[in-house]
Structures are given as structure tokens and as C-alpha cells.
């Protein structure tokens, strides 16, 4: 396995692979947080999560076009504005979808699954009609391209670092919101015992809508961030959705910490194995391990302990 590599090369391998794993980790965290919030709070599996993400990516695409045409001087900073826009546009659409569709389907998990899947198809075809079937290229400001050379072998990609910073900020933001704010207290109350929370005067329908919007908004931020590393096309969201479900289910559906731990575990396992095996085999092995652990712990890594 280590044949033919010198020890300094091995050190570089582990450094680079560790970094590759960390970038994968930040991608997982960005995707899974939104999904986990919605699933944990409402028991709704949002199959259209990937499409909300792509909405964020298209928002970034449009913003970059706008800046190129009208404000070329500020192009270097457009990305931050794009992320904010992506968050609010996706959150607004999320709130609308919750009001139109999801709220009528609570307590019917299978129906929400179908309904959100249908929504994902509608959104994909809408992108196709509006933006065309071809993937669009999102131009990045100059400072986001390239890499920081650390040693001869090790280069740290700037956009990977940037995605990592975004993921970290979003995770911290969500943590503060959930555990240090009045809204978070209400959310946790509803998650733990909905009738009791309602009995003490919490507007659980309002909380649901806000949470769904928040989850979709985070998907939008993820979409904006992924324009740097992936493709932006009508069905690009599909590429992320399976991994995201895996992370959420493996982490324990109602636990945000669990989501982060599972994202870390899966990403590190995947990228380490990818180096020594082929890409397809690494995926197979990762899935096998996850299935094995879920058989022992069906609730996921970190299940929330509540009395039912």
C-alpha cells in the first residue's frame, strides 16, 4: 500500500488527504444542516433540498452576471452579496412552499416525501426552461482561484478554504440560533413535545414555517458556495442529495451535533479510502460501514433521548 513512496511523500499524502477530507466535510455540513433542521423539527424529508441548493447557485450566477455588466469595479466582492441574496431568496421560496403545500401534509411523512419529490421535478424543469438545459459557468473573482503553496507537494486550494470558512460560520450561526436564542428555545420545545409546547402558548405553526424557511435558506448558501467547486445545472442538486441523506440519517435525525460528527466521519473515511482504492470502491465501502453501524444503532450516532 505504501510501496514506492518516501516518508516525506507519505507525510504530504496525509496532509493533502486530510485537507481533501476537510473540504468534503464542509460540503457535507453545508448540505446536511438545512436538511437536518427541517427533518428534526417537522419530520419532513425534503426531497427538493438539492433543488433549493441549485436555486442558490443560479442566484449566484445571476448576481455575478449583474456585477460584470453594471458594477465591474466591485466584482471581487460580489460573492458575499450573492450568498446573502441566495439565503433570502431560498428562504422566501421555502416559506411559500411550506404555506402552500407542506403544512397540509404534516403527520403524513410518506405524502410529504412524494410531494417534495414532485416539487423537485417541477423545480428542475423550471430551471431548464428558464436557464436552459446546459450547465452555466459562474465566473469567480480572481482572488478566489488558485492555491496557496505550502510545500512542494502540498497546495491548499483557496476556494476549498473559503467553503470551509462558510461551513464553519453557518454551523456556528445555527448553533447560536438553536441554543442561544428565544426562537431556538421554542424550536427545541416543539421538537421535544409538540402538544406541551402548544399548551404553553408557542405558535408551533409559525415555528414550523420559520424552520422550513431557515433550512431552505441554508441550502441556498450551500448552493452559492458550491458554484466554486461543482457544476450549476438544472439537475446538479441530485449529485449531492444522496450523500446528504446519508449524513443526516447516520448522524441521528434530530441531532445537529450528530449531523456534524457523522459528516466528519463519512468525509474522512471516504477521502482516505479514495486515495488507496478506486473512487467507486471507496463509496461502496463507506456505505457498507454506514449500514453496519445503523444496524447496531438504528437511531443513528447521536439520538436525542426523549420520552415518547
Amino acid at each position: 500500500m505504501f510501496d514506492g513512496y518516501t516518508s516525506s511523500e507519505l507525510m504530504s499524502i496525509f496532509a493533502m488527504q486530510g485537507f481533501a477530507g476537510l473540504s468534503l466535510f464542509s460540503v457535507f455540513v453545508l448540505m446536511a444542516l438545512g436538511l437536518a433542521i427541517i427533518f428534526g423539527q417537522m419530520g419532513v424529508i425534503n426531497m427538493a433540498h438539492g433543488e433549493f441548493m441549485i436555486l442558490g447557485a443560479y442566484t449566484t450566477y445571476l448576481t455575478s452576471g449583474f456585477f460584470q455588466s453594471y458594477l465591474p469595479g466591485l466584482f471581487g466582492g460580489y460573492f458575499f452579496i450573492a450568498m446573502v441574496l441566495a439565503f433570502f431568496i431560498c428562504a422566501a421560496l421555502g416559506a411559500l412552499v411550506e404555506w402552500l403545500m407542506i403544512r397540509h401534509l404534516y403527520h403524513r411523512p410518506l405524502d410529504t416525501l412524494l410531494a417534495t419529490w414532485g416539487l423537485s421535478l417541477i423545480m428542475q424543469q423550471a430551471y431548464r426552461s428558464i436557464f436552459g438545459a446546459r450547465e452555466v459557468g459562474v465566473d469567480l473573482p480572481e482572488w478566489m482561484m488558485g492555491a496557496i503553496p505550502v510545500t512542494d507537494m502540498v497546495d491548499l486550494p483557496i476556494n476549498g478554504l473559503f467553503v470551509m470558512v462558510i461551513a464553519l460560520s453557518v454551523a456556528v450561526g445555527v448553533y447560536l440560533l438553536m441554543y442561544r436564542s428565544g426562537y431556538g428555545k421554542k424550536v427545541r420545545a416543539v421538537v421535544q413535545n409538540r402538544p406541551m409546547a402548544e399548551a404553553v402558548g408557542i405558535n408551533s405553526a409559525g415555528i414550523d414555517r420559520a424552520t422550513f424557511a431557515l433550512g431552505c435558506g441554508i441550502a441556498g448558501i450551500a448552493g452559492a458556495a458550491f458554484t466554486m467547486i461543482g457544476s450549476t445545472g438544472p439537475s446538479s442538486g441530485q449529485a449531492y442529495i444522496v450523500d446528504t441523506f446519508l449524513v443526516v440519517v447516520f448522524g441521528g435525525a434530530q441531532s445537529l451535533i450528530g449531523t456534524i460528527v457523522s459528516a466528519f466521519g463519512i468525509s474522512q473515511a471516504q477521502s482516505t479510502m479514495e486515495f488507496f482504492l478506486s473512487g467507486s470502491m471507496a463509496k461502496v465501502l463507506t456505505l457498507l460501514v454506514v449500514i453496519g453501524i445503523l444496524m447496531i444503532r438504528p437511531e443513528g450516532l447521536m439520538a436525542l433521548k426523549v420520552r415518547r
Binding site: 431548464r128 450547465e135 482561484m145 507537494m153 478506486s278 473512487g279
Partner: protein, 422 residues
């Protein structure tokens, strides 16, 4: 239409009636005068198998995905086929008949392709089908088109290992694309080590098998071979492996959305393709794909194809101008789009050579049919239903176009069943 010289030599069997022979001579001489208006043989004469042919029209089918994930690739082919049909109609049609078409949507779903083929052949009785893009859709069409004896004109470069009497392959099969490109990398770039990378399905795997065999034969070395699932978006690990193995050439056949992720992440990892260390040689990135990837992310890579939009010849200039006039100035034209454009023209040439729309009669005439108005230059149909064509190497420019840096001197012979490569 370079069919005139072969009409004389191509018909050596004595079964034809003298009447038709003289008709053919007439048609040929009329074609020389570049007008086919005058020769309009009777419908009973040119259509004995109840195809949708009337005294002044003939109906063909177009079958591509215009919805679903493959729409991104296939829409260009539809546009090219419609353009060719319009141009043929403007120049007098086929055997004096205007072409009409029925378009069906394969919806990126392989069973749908089979079903729509059945509909086109049985209900619309089309005289030809221009369609399919992925190998999976072609394989789905195959049993139907063979059962009802239709003729499919298939535009995509593909893995070979197939030769149906009911298909004409207007794209390149794998050996045409691969052998010439590896020879080029070895001869002009002094490449000694190769890293093979592809998406995980039949076309990249077969292509890499052919590549590996050829590299072995040249006495050179493959230092890595790697496949990633379709739609894979994280290539950091393989990029690290490539950095470590330091191959002279990365031979890439990654497709679809994965392409975008791969090139963006290569660029982000500090790889500048214009340095050619390593040199990246791809068989899957056409001008179409670059639109999604972004020219700045692929600047400097080399692609091996038979056609690039920037080809400098009068046919191509005309073609590109006509395409842009029909579909807008911002259109780009990739290898497959050009191959799709050949379909209707080759069909017309075969029909006029056979003097009939009958599938069986056309089939006998395929071998040796030439088309010298092709945007890629001159092409000829091989008796194995593939095309003789030149292979070109282009280097990607920042504006998303390729600059042609090499072209094979001879036409490459199509060899769908390469010996020892399977």
C-alpha cells in the same frame, strides 16, 4: 455531394432493371449540374415498403432527449439535424421530395427511446431516424430498429464493439479517437507515463482499455487508472494521487456534471494546464461542455475529436454561419453536433445512390458513399457502417474554443472490433 463518381462504380450487381440504371445515370448527371429538381421518380418506384413517402414529401423521425438530464447534450444534435433537413429541402429535397420530420422526445429514459422508435417505425412509417445520444439509449433502440428494419443515424462518439445493419454511426468509434491522440502525445510531447481517469460506465472503461493496450504496445507506462461514479463531485483525492504520481499525460474521459467539478478543482489545486505538467488529454470535453466548465478552468487542455468549431475550411465556415443564423450568435458547436448534421446528408446521398427509399436497397449502397461538403472535411462510409474520418487534436483557449494543433494526414479507418483490445 460527392456521390456521383461512386454511383457508376458502386452498382456492379446485375439485378437492377435497365430502366433504373438509366434513371440513376440521369439522377447523377442532374446532380452534377447541382440541381435535383428535375428527377422526380414515381412514388411506387422509390418506395416499395410502405414508408411515409408521397409524390412530393418524405417523412423522417428525430428522436433525442429534449427533457431530462441528457437534454443538455442532445439539443445540439436536434438543432443540427433540423438545419441539415432545412438545407436539403432548400436545395430541392431528396429524390425531388421535401423532407418532413416527426420529432419525439426520448426524455433521457432508455425504455422511452425503444417505445418511441416503435411508434416512429410502425405508426409514422418514417424513412430514417436521426437520434439517440448515449450508448444506453442506442442499445435500447437496437432490438426495435432491427425487428422492424428501420435505419438509425447515430451521432455520438462511442465505445465501438457494435455493428448493426440498421445503424449508421456518424461519430467516431473509440479507436479512431484514442490511438491517434496517444501517438500524438508520444511523438510531439515525448509522453512516457499516463494516468487514465474516467466516469464509471462502459464508454470510459472501454476507451481506457483500448488506451492501455496501445500504451503497453508502445512500451510506455500507465501509472494509474481510476473511475468515479457518474455525478461524482469531489475529485480532491484523485488530484492528490496525480500530483504524487507525476504522470506526463492525464488521459481523461470524465463526463457530465462531474467534468465541471473535476476541472474547477484541478485549477483550484494549483494545476495550470498551459504548463503541460502534466498534459491533459481528453476525449470527452467538447466546446459544448466548456460552456458549463468555464474557459478559464480548461485553458490549455488538449482534446482529441474529429471536429472543432474552429476548423478552418470553407465547408465549416458556411456551416457555423448557418448554424448561428438559425439558432443565435452565442451557440457553440461540438463534435457530436457536427456528426448529427452529417446524418441527413448521408441518408440523402444513400437514397439518391440507391434511387429508392427502401431500407434494404439503401443498405447495399452505404459502403463508399462520400460526403465532401462535411464541415469536418471529407468523410466516407466504411462497409462496417462507420465513417472514415480524420482525427484532430485541439488545445482549449480561454474563450472556450479549441485551437487545432494537429490533424492526422490520412483518414482514420473505423475499427469497431479492434483485435486484442476487447
Amino acid at each position: 455531394m460527392g456521390t456521383t463518381d461512386t454511383t457508376a462504380t458502386g452498382r456492379s450487381d446485375g439485378k437492377r432493371s435497365g430502366f433504373r440504371k438509366s434513371l440513376m445515370t440521369l439522377a447523377a448527371s442532374v446532380m452534377l449540374a447541382s440541381s435535383v429538381q428535375a428527377a422526380t421518380p414515381s412514388t411506387a418506384e422509390v418506395n416499395t415498403t410502405e414508408l411515409a413517402v408521397t409524390d412530393d414529401t418524405v417523412t423522417v423521425g428525430i428522436l433525442h432527449s429534449i427533457t431530462g438530464t441528457m437534454a443538455i447534450s442532445e439539443i445540439g444534435s436536434v438543432q443540427a439535424e433540423k438545419l441539415a433537413i432545412d438545407q436539403i429541402n432548400a436545395s430541392g429535397g431528396v429524390l425531388g421530395r421535401q423532407i418532413e420530420f416527426v420529432q419525439e422526445d426520448g426524455a433521457s429514459d432508455w425504455p422511452t427511446f425503444a417505445e418511441k422508435t416503435r411508434k416512429l417505425l410502425r405508426q409514422d412509417n418514417v424513412a430514417a431516424i436521426f437520434g439517440a445520444w448515449t450508448s444506453a439509449s442506442r442499445k435500447a433502440i437496437l432490438p426495435v430498429i432491427e425487428q422492424f428494419n428501420g435505419m438509425l443515424y447515430y451521432p455520438t462518439f462511442y465505445e465501438g464493439l457494435e455493428q448493426s445493419p440498421n445503424v449508421v454511426y456518424t461519430g467516431q468509434e473509440a479507436t479512431q479517437q484514442i490511438l491517434a491522440s496517444i501517438d500524438w502525445a508520444v511523438e510531439t510531447k515525448g509522453a512516457k507515463t499516463f494516468y487514465l481517469l474516467g466516469s464509471d460506465y462502459i464508454w470510459p472503461r472501454t476507451s481506457n482499455k483500448i488506451a492501455r493496450k496501445h500504451i503497453d504496445k508502445l512500451g510506455l507506462k500507465v501509472v494509474g487508472e481510476e473511475y468515479y461514479p457518474l455525478g461524482h463531485t469531489q475529485f480532491n483525492s484523485v488530484i492528490n494521487k496525480i500530483k504524487l504520481k507525476k504522470p506526463d499525460v492525464i488521459f481523461a474521459s470524465v463526463v457530465g456534471g462531474s467534468n465541471v467539478a473535476f476541472y474547477k478543482q484541478m485549477k483550484a489545486a494549483g494545476v495550470d494546464f498551459t504548463d503541460e505538467k502534466p498534459l491533459l488529454l481528453t476525449i470527452s470535453v467538447t466546446e459544448d461542455e466548456i460552456r458549463g466548465i468555464g474557459g478559464e478552468n480548461v485553458e490549455g487542455i488538449y482534446a482529441s475529436m474529429k471536429y472543432f468549431q474552429s476548423l478552418d475550411n470553407p465547408n465549416n465556415k458556411e456551416f457555423v454561419a448557418a448554424f448561428k443564423e438559425a439558432y443565435g450568435d452565442d451557440m457553440v458547436i461540438g463534435d457530436v453536433t457536427q456528426a448529427a448534421y452529417l446524418g441527413p446528408w448521408l441518408w440523402k446521398a444513400a437514397v439518391e445512390k440507391a434511387g429508392s427509399f427502401d431500407i434494404d436497397k439503401i443498405r447495399e449502397e452505404f459502403a463508399g458513399i462520400e460526403f465532401d461538403k462535411a464541415p469536418e472535411g471529407y468523410v466516407r462510409i466504411h462497409e462496417n457502417h462507420h465513417l472514415w474520418s480524420k482525427t484532430r487534436i485541439g488545445q482549449a483557449q480561454i474563450d472556450g474554443q479549441y485551437k487545432v494543433v494537429h490533424e492526422t494526414e490520412e483518414l482514420m479507418e473505423p475499427d469497431p472490433f479492434p483485435e486484442g483490445y476487447q
